[in-house]
């Protein structure tokens, strides 16, 4: 093949096999896992609606949206960490630590602090704790699951050992007001108030911000890059420390916000709250189409995953499931949904 190597071949190289018509819709689906999530949501809604038609009313929607808020904020944080190839289980501990400390501090020294300031304070302190996570992950070169198990114990231990254990009802007035603030309020025919709380705006804002960061900034692309392969991204000139710190700081930032939103909407500050539901959040993100192995996941899919998990947790009474059977149903549902997902992946 000596001389022949030099012969010019001008025909274009067929780079990829032609997508075959028969499999193209499968391919289309495989690219959009969130379609599945959406289908499951529709299915669950139809089933519950058939069992109990009172499911189809606006207030139920409001309730579900409200129940999504904190879970959704956590899920966005988990999404960005998963996309970067890590896993974070300390976010709830961060939220608990920031929400309780800030509420306590504000109550004692500055009870009239405006809610905007509180949100900023929560976000900033959450982000700082997240930075610590990020730096530890970077310095220790250990899987982030292990590091964040460590920091989870640490943050929760600090909260309950040094900050306080007793919950209090008299949260600062601005928080209370924020929790009660309604975007939309009307009365149902039965005379019940139905309220769409303003706190969902925080989730909406966070979702838009996360989407913009992931898709429209270099740091967002860097997140997916290191999620694809840490070693390769490093070789291509990405600064791993920056990305690690950013990712965990952002997750901490959202956790801090979630903490303040949680206190505002429950109107009590309980240091035992939030922690313990980490795996549900991760499940929601995975049901939203992100892969546990990193490098994938979308904001839209994640929100759908959150809606799905919230939905299944909030319609069991409406569907008439006795309380002893509820865990079985939720567990079975996660398995079925997971199996659907797996089938999609194999398709």
């Amino acid at each position: 093949m000596t001389a022949s190597t030099m012969q010019a071949h001008t025909t274009a190289v067929p780079a990829a096999p032609e997508p075959r018509a028969r499999t193209s819709w499968r391919h289309w689906l495989a690219q959009r896992p969130s379609v599945f999530t959406l289908a499951l949501i529709v299915l669950v809604s139809l089933v519950v609606g058939v069992i109990n038609p009172s499911f189809f009313q606006l207030p139920v929607l409001f309730d579900i949206v409200r129940a999504c808020t904190v879970l959704g904020l956590f899920a966005l944080g988990v999404l960005i960490v998963l996309a970067a190839g890590g896993i974070d289980v300390s976010f709830a501990a961060i939220a608990a630590l920031t929400m309780y400390s800030i509420t306590k501090l504000v109550l004692n020294y500055f009870p009239e602090a405006p809610i905007a300031l509180l949100l900023v304070a929560g976000a900033v302190s959450g982000a700082l704790l997240g930075v610590l996570n990020g730096l530890l992950v970077h310095w220790l070169k250990a899987p982030s699951l292990i590091v964040t198990i460590g920091t989870q114990y640490l943050y929760r231990g600090i909260l309950l050992t040094f900050v306080g254990t007793v919950f209090f009802m008299n949260v600062p007035q601005p928080m209370d007001a924020f929790g009660k603030l309604a975007l939309w309020r009307f009365d149902t025919p039965q005379g019940l108030h139905a309220v769409l709380p303003a706190t969902v705006l925080v989730l909406a804002g966070a979702a838009v911000l996360t989407w913009w960061l992931l898709n429209r900034t270099l740091i967002g692309r860097a997140v997916y890059a290191i999620g694809g392969s840490l070693a390769i991204a490093e070789r291509l000139g990405y600064n791993l420390r920056t990305v690690h710190v950013f990712v965990f700081a952002y997750a901490g930032f959202l956790s801090g916000l979630a903490g303040i939103v949680h206190v505002s909407s429950t109107r009590l500050a309980n240091p035992f709250d939030l922690v313990g539901n980490e795996l549900d959040v991760i499940a929601a993100v995975i049901l939203g189409g992100a892969r546990i192995t990193g490098g994938s996941g979308t904001v839209g899919g994640t929100l759908l995953g959150v809606v799905l998990v919230t939905l299944i947790n909030n319609v069991l009474i409406l569907a008439g499931v006795p309380s002893t059977w509820q865990k079985v149903i939720i567990g079975a549902f996660i398995l079925v949904a997971g199996a659907c997902f797996a089938m999609r992946r194999q398709a």
Binding site: M1, H9, V13, L218, Y224, A225, E234, R235, N239
Partner: protein, 528 residues
Amino acid sequence: MTLGALSTPVPHFPAAPAGRRVFLEVQDVHKRFAGVHALRGIDLTIETGEIYHLLGENGCGKSTLIKIISGAQPPSQGRIVIDGTPHDALSPLEALTLGIETVYQDLSLLPNMNVAENVALSEQLVKTGGKLARRFDRKAVAATAVRALKTLKLPTDAAFLARRVDELPIATRQLVAIARAVATRARMVIMDEPTTSLTQKEVDNLVHVVEALCAQGVAVLFVSHKLDECMAMGGQAIVFRDGTKVAQGPIKDFTKAGLSHWMTGKQLDGARLRHRSHEGDTLLKVEALGRGTQFSDAGFTLHKGEILGITGLLDSGRNELAMALAGVQAADRGRISLASKEITLKTPADGIRQGIGYVPEDRLSEGLFLDKPIRDNIVTAVLSRLRGRFGALDARQCQALAERTVANLQIATPDVDRPVQSLSGGNQQRVLIGRWLAIDPRVLILHGPTVGVDVGSKDTIYRIVQRLAEQGLGVILVSDDLQELLQNCDRILLMRKGRIARDFDATGLAESELYRALVSDTPFPALP
């Protein structure tokens, strides 16, 4: 021209023509890994607009030098001077900023990102000086990507730009990696074995690209084990042996044999190794085998002691056929019979049970357990046969088998407890072959057995293959290295569009004929 201060005499060649400028100098660079002195005082000068071929056996330090120049690893000692500015070490970003673009041996593509981003994201990164708090300019990325892909004659439509890289065939991936290197205004492009998985046509195209780059004054550092390609391209040859530079000069002044001599210290030639042994009984008979749309109607026979080559362009179905024969991807129609008995191959375990061994193409991801001991890597497929009392593994038998394999296949290692990743590429490949020999195979399928393996190691592997055939094994050699096929095989099957298009007798077949048949687009008459 810098010549290494070496004990080995370095041949002296006339200086490069004027008009070229020194771009980069490597000065007395050493690299030590735990226990390995990989580079021992390398001095090099790279000038603009010239092609350099970095040649040498596996493990002589080529990739290591490249990693040091491109900033992926710091040198242990020495420095790199770029445009007159000395650097003790470069970071990947600094190297990119200075215009050094690299196609790594492992491609270094981000599997989860799309083609456009893989090709053009680095440009933005460099533009912002590595700062990530910047907007991501999708239009610029698309524009750059289209420009680069065009150069390599890759598709530029939106659908291709949006394809995830891990969905692409390996050859396309390699081209995408090259596209990334030429996407920006590079001053030096380094390519570490860029042609390993390319077909001839694609290699030819790459050669044009390299020539065009040189014409624009870009320096190209090219690493390949395929000496013919290098000779065809021209430029400077730099030969490494054991971490030192042993020769440098215009490649046209070397002969292939001469280069091999510099690389290995031994004389090697491309002569045919196969002296057709007389045909044994029919061992494997394949009839009307097919799988989906990947290949169909495959039929052939393999005799005892025969070496059968299978080749074809990348999506010709040759890989899929090989995998079906090993049970890795089961065929969905047709028959396979072994020694006149029909067999089913649904999983690799079926293959093992029947005595069919399969050495996969990509030894790193499909073959080896990198951080496990050499021993475990060898005994993998026969664990159940090495059971002693209580179903436990018989440690002594394992050890003996591993040591026997190491001795048999001349694997260079002091002991079998070491992780297999501590071996060089060629030795790793031998471990893999050893694993399959342990099952006492009747048929051995070797898929690209010398990809990324140097001349010396190649030779050892060929001799092993020949020896096996003489012992009565049926060997199937799937490869796109035509010379390898011609040197080793009795017959060569050529696949095209999922079908076996031709069946060549390898004796007396000229490489040029085989090559023409391979790249020709005209349909062959159907086989009788």
